[in-house]
Assembly symmetry: C2
């Protein structure tokens, strides 16, 4: 209906001419900035609508150096060769939710691959701010963005950059404690931890909370490291390690990565271990693989939707000049999805 007769984009001048005012008045009317007579404002709005006018985001961005776009880098995906489908629905949910939240706030969300290793498309450095998910230790992406003066918030700490405080995230230590308590309450005697090799805070904080607990109750700590890229096979490899271990298979395992947990369980079951009777398993990240495993694996739902929402909110807060007195680190509540893999009676 209405709008565009000619192909040419309708500009602020067109609206000004039609409404019989200056472009300034149009700008003010539409942005609610200056002081404009109500009547005039109404007329301008009317004309603008009729013409289907909407301010050119580029021109506006040039003026106000605000493009209206947020960049998103998901670091764990950068190590993958090609955004493979390996049980990474957490990130799909995260990216989708971030996009939705950004859109709702009038921003676009641009997915970007590690801007340090590839020639950076200029546009990547023109965004208003960045969200960087699961930064690695001393993350070079953070350096790059700092160098360009681009605001960013991280999801998860940069474990080697204590001075960097613009991050938010799940309370990984709390999650670890929750899992351990759950396992203990169901009769676990020895609990092992399986973590990934990426140098991010999820791995680091989980391990340290686990070791802390082990030390506290005099339990020997059993920590297995397995590359995130290895998928289910990696989980099976860890299972072999446990099977061959002199201390045998522990009677409870907290395995951070969902796909490791799935492979681990499969291998143990194949070898005659019963889940949850002989061994209980909990995954640190819920995914389809944990939900669909046999039996389904108790997992922590990382609630990427709320994390993404919080990240966008915090970034936008950072962008607005209103100086946030203090860092309100939104506490994100993850949920333990209890399933059959820990259903001891």
């Amino acid at each position: 209906m209405s709008t565009a007769s000619g192909r040419r984009k309708v500009t602020i001048h067109d609206v000004a001419r039609q409404a019989g005012v200056s472009i300034t008045t149009v700008s003010h009317s539409l942005n609610g900035k200056g002081v404009v007579a109500e009547e005039t404002r109404a007329r301008v709005h009317e004309v603008a609508t009729k013409l289907g006018y909407s301010a050119d985001a580029i021109a506006r961005g040039l003026r106000s150096s605000r493009l209206g776009v947020l960049g998103l880098v998901i670091r764990p995906l950068d190590s993958l060769d090609s955004y493979q489908p390996i049980g990474v629905d957490y990130f799909m949910r995260f990216a989708g939710a971030a996009a939705v939240e950004a859109l709702d706030r009038g921003f676009g969300l641009m997915l970007v691959r590690d801007p340090t290793t590839h020639s950076v498309p200029a546009i990547a450095l023109a965004v208003d701010g960045f969200i960087i998910s699961d930064p690695i230790a001393n993350d070079p992406v953070i350096d790059l963005l700092n160098r360009h003066g681009i605001p960013l918030v991280a999801v998860g700490r940069d474990i080697d950059r204590p001075e960097f405080t613009d991050w938010l995230g799940e309370d990984t230590s709390q999650d670890t404690r929750t899992v351990i308590e759950h396992l203990s309450a169901h009769g676990a005697r020895s609990i092992a931890l399986v973590r990934g090799t990426d140098a991010n805070s999820w791995n680091a904080d989980s391990e340290s909370a686990y070791r802390h607990w082990a030390a506290e109750c005099g339990q020997p700590a059993a920590v297995y490291l397995e590359d995130e890229r290895s998928g289910e096979d990696g989980g099976r490899a860890v299972a072999e390690l446990m099977l061959a271990s002199p201390t045998g298979v522990p009677d409870a395992i907290y395995c951070l990565t969902g796909r490791h947990a799935a492979g681990l369980q499969k291998r143990l079951v194949e070898q005659g271990h019963r889940v949850p009777i002989d061994v209980m398993i909990v995954a640190g990240a819920d995914s389809e693989q944990t939900r669909n495993a046999t039996p389904p694996i108790t997992s922590i739902d990382l609630t990427p939707e709320s994390t993404a929402k919080a990240a966008v909110t915090q970034l936008l807060q950072l962008l607005s000049d209103t100086p946030t007195a203090e860092h309100v680190r939104p506490s994100i509540t993850n949920i333990l999805r209890i399933r059959e893999s820990t259903a001891r009676v």
Copy 2:
């Protein structure tokens, strides 16, 4: 190293001053446009590098109305409330692959939610082109983009818009035939089809190819419709329908949506039907749910990576002024992943 001493962004003027030339020369040198003495060009490059200069994408975009960003709308996700995690890894792979491909070609990739139903962030209409995945019948998004003169390519046809030819996609009919042949070759006598309710070409073309085959071999067509949003429960509902049907459960089922297939199989198995002995099941879209089902479900791998790559390529082709003599519809080869659910001996 090098670069940014002051906080301020380094502009073309800085480079010009440092190199002792005009901004014009800098622009020409860096873009290889005008005629510049080799010596000068070299010096400019040197200075630019030393200063860490890179042209502001926004300013450049304003001049050349080329922002360097592609928009991506995934229609099936718009109907979902919030990009839920329901076995949609196809789209994650698609979005990720599209982003990577775009980045490799010097473009950014912006995820956008249905720009017709929400207030359009101005930036959405400033992108250079759009990819719209699985448009619905007479898709209003296509209207909107056309109205704004924004180039687009669709992945999948708009089934009610025959005149629109800028689309590409898997050969859905071929996939259907492949599946039917596979099932027939394994002794299927009666094959049923389960499709979704979205008015997109995947559903439409699959059904029509199926009906065509049924008519050809005198088989009665059995088509079940189930809402895409219903997930595994929807699959179970279809199973109930089949169980209650006077003709009974068919001995082979082609179920487009992976999560329907998973639920369907679960319910049938619960009711004592053996897969693949009594009934074989094939899903039209591989996903974690089909891979992890018990037994694993034979599925078509939609190879979103190659589709995304082709979509980006075609859109960029469209954007370049080089008039493409003819529409080369890249044929995308989907792969039938054969698993236990059709492993009749």
